[in-house]
């Protein structure tokens, strides 16, 4: 199971793609309330999206994106049934990916 929830629906002649990704997005600047130690940085630093086999979005992130990141983008000229792939990688080598069809 992917930890990314995705919804891709047509609106006019564009696909509206909304994603919610499970991730703590630790900046590395926050202290553990109990131990007083810094919590190590752990955040998604790369996000990509492809529609119908073509990359539409290639993003880099910092830990300053809110935990369990939300991302919405729109792709003109997409069609119902087009395959959407959204993937991320984090600074510790973790990764996740999800596939959906535009509805």
């Amino acid at each position: 199971m992917s930890g990314i929830r995705i919804k891709a629906t047509m609106s006019g002649d564009s696909a509206v793609i909304k994603c919610l990704m499970q991730h703590p997005m630790e900046t590395g600047l926050r202290k553990d309330a109990k131990t007083g130690q810094l919590i190590p940085a752990h955040f998604i630093n790369h996000v990509t999206a492809a529609v119908a086999g073509k990359t539409v979005l290639d993003g880099q992130w910092a830990g300053g994106i809110a935990a369990n990141p939300f991302l919405e983008f729109r792709v003109k000229g997409a069609k119902v049934g087009d395959k959407v792939v959204v993937s991320w990688e984090d600074n510790k080598g973790g990764k996740d990916s999800v596939e959906a069809a535009v509805a």
Binding site: T55, A62, I65, A66, F73
Partner: protein, 156 residues
């Protein structure tokens, strides 16, 4: 390195090259990203350093960039921000929170029909300008929107 991608995107045939690379599977999501993470820009402690790192220094103010964010955010740990660029040929959307310990938040390259629009949620340490940088046709544009933060969301 990062500059490589920027140069590819900047070139006259940049978009076509990226498209060709994508269809050849070179930019297959999840397998390989187009550029290394821009460490210098993302770890910069001030706006000037972040802008220098992304090539955004000298950006020109534009009323063609719309930043939709709350005027007051009670909780800085999750502030919704939408950026829409009406500038033709928008290739990159960059997002900063100016008073965060590390101001640069996101740098999106958009291509192959992606609209010049991004919606996400960011952390804000304190009341600050949210700044968007748009790169289009080899030029750099910018706009800001102030968000008042009641409780900071960076925890340090």
């Amino acid at each position: 390195m990062n500059h490589q991608r920027r140069q590819i995107l900047k070139g006259a045939g940049g978009v076509a090259m990226v498209a060709a690379a994508a269809s050849a599977g070179l930019l297959k999501p999840g397998a390989a990203f187009a550029a290394d993470w821009n460490k210098a820009a993302f770890e910069a402690k001030d706006v000037a350093g972040a802008l220098a790192g992304v090539g955004g220094a000298g950006a020109v103010d534009s009323d063609q960039i719309i930043i939709d964010a709350p005027a007051i955010a009670e909780n800085g740990s999750r502030v919704p921000v939408k950026v829409t660029s009406k500038i033709p040929g928008t290739e990159r959307i960059i997002l900063l929170s100016e008073k965060n310990a590390m101001p640069l938040l996101a740098d999106f390259a958009i291509m192959n029909g992606a609209e010049s629009y991004i919606s996400t949620a960011i952390k804000m340490g304190k009341t600050s300008n949210v700044r968007a940088i748009i790169m289009a046709g080899g030029k750099v544009y910018t706009a800001v929107k102030e968000v008042k933060v009641t409780i900071g969301g960076c925890g340090g």
